[in-house]
């Protein structure tokens, strides 16, 4: 161990870069824990997906075209979120607001469609109380929906801050993290689409 007694004080800018780098790393770790969380829900769904207790199974319950529309909307929102991040790098405020605005709108449409699918299922007597399979379905897809809702609230708050404060270190960092979060939710949805809906439709 030595101590560089003569070294100059670390510059504030260098410290800031290190801080942001640390935050992004920590956020990735958090996303990994969220991935584990979803993995467990997927495992639970895999175990229970045939336990319909005499009720309808995935093959009869879901409408693929509807879910495909949901999927395309969410994928598009991920694309516009990417455009917003590019605009963020260029510090182009108008574009950031526009693209995140579009992302927000698409996210809200997705969430509304999901809620109306849930409502339809519940009204048809296929609520989460009906069977182990439906409990697992509602919990897995609903947890994803809850994440989307959180992302929307987060987006609204951040956009408000951007309008008020402009590009500060804080607003840029938080919008970057939000972008990561949104893409992550997209990835999770791909798994949901494949495992719950596609495989559900294939199995007879």
């Amino acid at each position: 161990m030595t101590t560089a007694a003569q070294s100059p004080a670390p510059s504030a800018a260098a410290e800031a870069v290190r801080d942001d780098d640390k935050t992004v790393f920590g956020f990735w770790l958090y996303l990994m824990t969220d991935f584990v969380l979803f993995s467990v829900l997927f495992a639970v769904y895999a175990v229970l997906h045939n336990n319909t207790f005499g009720g309808p199974s995935a093959a009869t319950l879901f409408s693929l075209p509807y879910v495909l529309a949901e999927t395309l909307i969410l994928l598009t929102s991920s694309f516009t979120c990417g455009l917003a991040t590019v605009a963020l790098q260029r510090r182009n405020r108008t574009q950031v607001l526009v693209w995140f605005g579009v992302t927000f709108a698409l996210g809200a449409i997705f969430l509304t469609m999901e809620a109306s699918e849930f409502r339809r299922l519940a009204l048809d007597g296929n609520s989460w109380r009906a069977s182990g399979f439906l409990s697992a379905f509602f919990t897995l897809v609903g947890t994803h929906g809850l994440h989307i809702a959180t992302g929307l609230v987060w987006m609204a708050v951040q956009l408000g801050q951007l309008v008020n404060r402009g590009f500060t270190r804080g607003t840029v960092r938080r919008l970057t993290l939000l972008g990561l979060f949104w893409h992550f939710l997209d990835v999770v949805w791909i798994f949901i689409f494949t495992i719950v809906y596609l495989l559900g439709a294939v199995r007879i």
């Binding site: 161990m1 030595t2 101590t3 790393f25 969220d34 584990v36 109380r129 409990s135």
Partner: protein, 662 residues
């Protein structure tokens, strides 16, 4: 009536009706709280408490608070243990003891839950907060505010679990609350909900801490400290935190699913409607087995620091230690099924998990041998931390062998659910985790408070703990072979078990004396601190960076960030005789105090209480409060303050003067 249920959910006067034993507990708890409040008021310490402790983001302060809370919980859970053993010593034949069956079940559930989640986890994160940044040569953890949130979520869990004593009841299901017993149908009361929410809240805190410390270790090591030069305690913590990050989300989901079953009428683990109770058992142990290693790895880490220091030698087999940790981290995820060989998974599955269980003993054995070889031909000083280590080696090895025995499925079919199992895991957790943490607390105490603990009283505490522990648990191994099952509140006199149960109860009595000596040790050490001040900052002639700072370590840890060239960096500096004496200091940024973590903990506690009693409006308000507080804090970009170079120069020069005086 409708209004009352809207306002208070299912909370009513019945929640406050208890038996005499519970009332006694409530009175003791209330008197303790009142005397703390009175003392703070009398000595005019409220402001001090708020400014220096409750709102502090300094990990050393947070660490001390963790340890204080954990020690209070230890007192509670040891009392539970004493009650159980007293009951079993007298409840024979026509005598049914002083605890009713239902109350006995609540007591053993509370004992297990509190010991694991609120004693062991509290001591773990307390120790991490005290040591990890200092040992890495860092000034703070990666996310100081998140750290305080984790702590206050832990406290919220502690308060909630203890609220079940005066208001309502606790779970009577055992510490892991297996369904279908824990489902609404069989446990309609609030007990399981108290269990569920106190663990959920504290568990989220642990998960956030895992992310925090993993980031700290990976991103904040001093310049030059490559992973291969990192102290072994930090390696152990890294293994443990990787496990936290992978295992705690499983707990979060499992508890959430049980909540959905109980509250929204879902069917994950119910007996009917296509639920699967065995899925719960699989999930809870997929978290639960890694949890065992989450606790023990840092204790291993403590010994990897204590043994080299008090043997005057470098740690034997550094590389093999690291590989042993890595192997344990990996293997700990593929042994969970040995907790329920009797499920009926079939011979092949049981064989796989049995073999894996035995394999995990190999890296653990490697570590034991490495410590012994570190001692070999060393100049050993038998200080209290070293005594805890010696007690650990003997008991942990015996417990480990018992574990390998039960790792054989055919043997497990005989011993499953017996007191042999209880004896085994207490040998591992008391002899391993608890002894390890006590060694660590004694070892690092001077770094935090500036004076060492009284050695003489420490030895007495150790002696009573070790002998009491052996007396309490050796009879349980024997009783297990004789067929005594766990969680038993009454047995027939003709079985001839009573003498062994009486011996076990005497053992618990001796452990209580040991705890008494520990309290005495702290009190005496504080009163006579002038006699054993640590002026040098290095009272044990130790090897790692934390001992290069003054004791107590200043808020900013290191005035100048050290640069590391070797393992045992501080030892080599001392050997070379070239201890740097910097003359120029620079200002340092540290986090400002913040009460928001405490408020988030308070809101989470309120939400938990409201969820237990089904008070909808209160839960909604509290959750909105948490969201609002998080938004408020994350929007605040002005969270640091600066310690001026002059202040630092003054502090450092005072420390250097003390060192010269010594």
């Amino acid at each position: 009536m409708l209004f009352a249920s809207l306002l208070l959910g299912r909370l009513n006067m019945d929640a406050f009706r208890h038996n005499m034993v519970v009332y006694t507990g409530v009175v003791v708890m209330t008197l303790g709280l009142l005397s703390a409040v009175a003392a703070l008021t009398y000595f005019k310490r409220w402001k001090w408490l708020w400014r220096e402790w409750l709102t502090s983001l300094d990990p050393k302060r947070i660490g001390v608070m963790y340890i204080v809370v954990a020690m209070l919980m230890l007192l509670r859970a040891v009392s539970d243990a004493a009650m159980m053993r007293a009951q079993q010593a007298v409840s024979v034949g026509s005598n049914h003891g002083f605890l009713s069956g239902d109350h006995f079940q609540q007591v053993f559930t509370a004992h297990g839950t509190i010991m694991i989640f609120f004693v062991a986890m509290g001591l773990l994160f307390g120790l991490l907060n005290l040591v990890v940044p200092l040992q890495l040569g860092a000034r703070d953890v990666a996310f100081p505010f998140l750290n305080s949130v984790s702590f206050w979520l832990y406290v919220a869990g502690v308060v909630l679990v203890n609220t079940s004593l005066p208001i309502g009841e606790f779970a009577a299901t055992g510490w892991l609350a297996y369904p279908p017993l824990s489902e609404l149908q069989y446990s309609p009361g609030v007990g399981v909900d108290y269990w569920l929410w106190s663990l959920q809240i504290a568990g989220v805190g642990s998960l956030l801490s895992g992310v925090n410390f993993l980031t700290t270790i990976i991103r904040m090591r001093a310049p030059g400290m490559t992973l291969g030069k990192m102290p072994m305690f930090c390696w152990s913590v890294m293994g443990s935190m990787v496990l936290v990050v992978f295992a705690f989300p499983i707990l979060t989901v499992t508890l959430a699913l049980l909540f959905l079953d109980r509250t929204l009428g879902m069917h994950f683990f119910t007996s009917g409607f296509g639920g699967s109770a065995m899925m719960y058992v699989n999930l809870i142990w997929a978290w639960g087995h890694p949890e065992v290693y989450i606790l023990i790895l840092p204790a291993f880490g403590v010994f990897s620091e204590v043994v080299p220091t008090f043997s005057g030698k470098r740690l034997f087999g550094y590389t093999s230690m690291v590989w042993a940790i890595a192997a344990i981290v990996f293997l700990s995820f593929i042994v969970w099924l040995h907790h329920f060989f009797t499920m009926g998974a079939g011979a092949d599955v049981n064989a796989f998990f049995g073999i894996m269980t035995m394999i995990i003993a190999v890296p653990t054995g490697v570590k034991i041998f490495n410590w012994l070889f570190t001692m070999y031909r060393g100049r050993i000083r038998f200080t209290t931390p070293m005594l805890w280590f010696l007690g650990f080696v003997a008991t942990f090895t015996v417990g480990g062998v018992a574990g390998v025995m039960m790792g054989m499925p055919p043997v497990d079919f005989q011993l499953h659910n017996s007191l042999f199992l209880v004896a085994h895991f207490h040998t591992m957790i008391i002899g391993g985790v608890v002894f390890g943490f006590f060694a660590g607390l004694t070892y690092w105490f001077p770094k935090v408070f500036g004076f060492t603990l009284n050695e003489r009283l420490g030895r007495w505490a150790f002696g009573f703990w070790l002998s009491g522990f052996l007396l309490a648990f050796i009879p349980l191994y024997i009783l297990g072979f004789m067929g005594a099952t766990r969680r038993m509140d009454h047995y027939d006199a003709s079985l001839g078990w009573q003498p062994l149960f009486i011996v076990a109860a005497v053992g618990v009595g001796l452990v209580c004396v040991g705890v008494g000596f520990q309290i005495l040790q702290v009190v005496v050490s504080v009163l006579r601190r002038k006699d054993h001040l640590d002026l040098t900052g290095d009272p044990w002639n130790a090897r790692t960076l934390e001992w290069s700072t003054p004791s107590p370590a200043p808020e900013y840890n290191f005035a100048i960030t050290p640069t590391v060239e070797t393992r045992d960096a501080f030892w080599h500096t001392k050997q070379s005789g070239k201890r740097p004496a910097p003359s120029i200091y620079h200002a340092i940024r540290v986090p400002k105090n913040s009460p928001i973590g405490l408020f988030i903990g308070g809101a989470a506690l309120t939400a938990g209480f409201a969820a237990v009693w089904h008070i909808g409006w209160l839960a909604a308000v509290a959750v909105a409060g948490v969201v609002g507080l998080v938004m408020y804090r994350t929007s605040d970009d002005n969270t640091t303050r600066t310690i001026s170079a002059a202040t630092i120069a003054k502090t450092e020069e005072a420390a250097a003067a003390k060192r010269r005086y010594a």
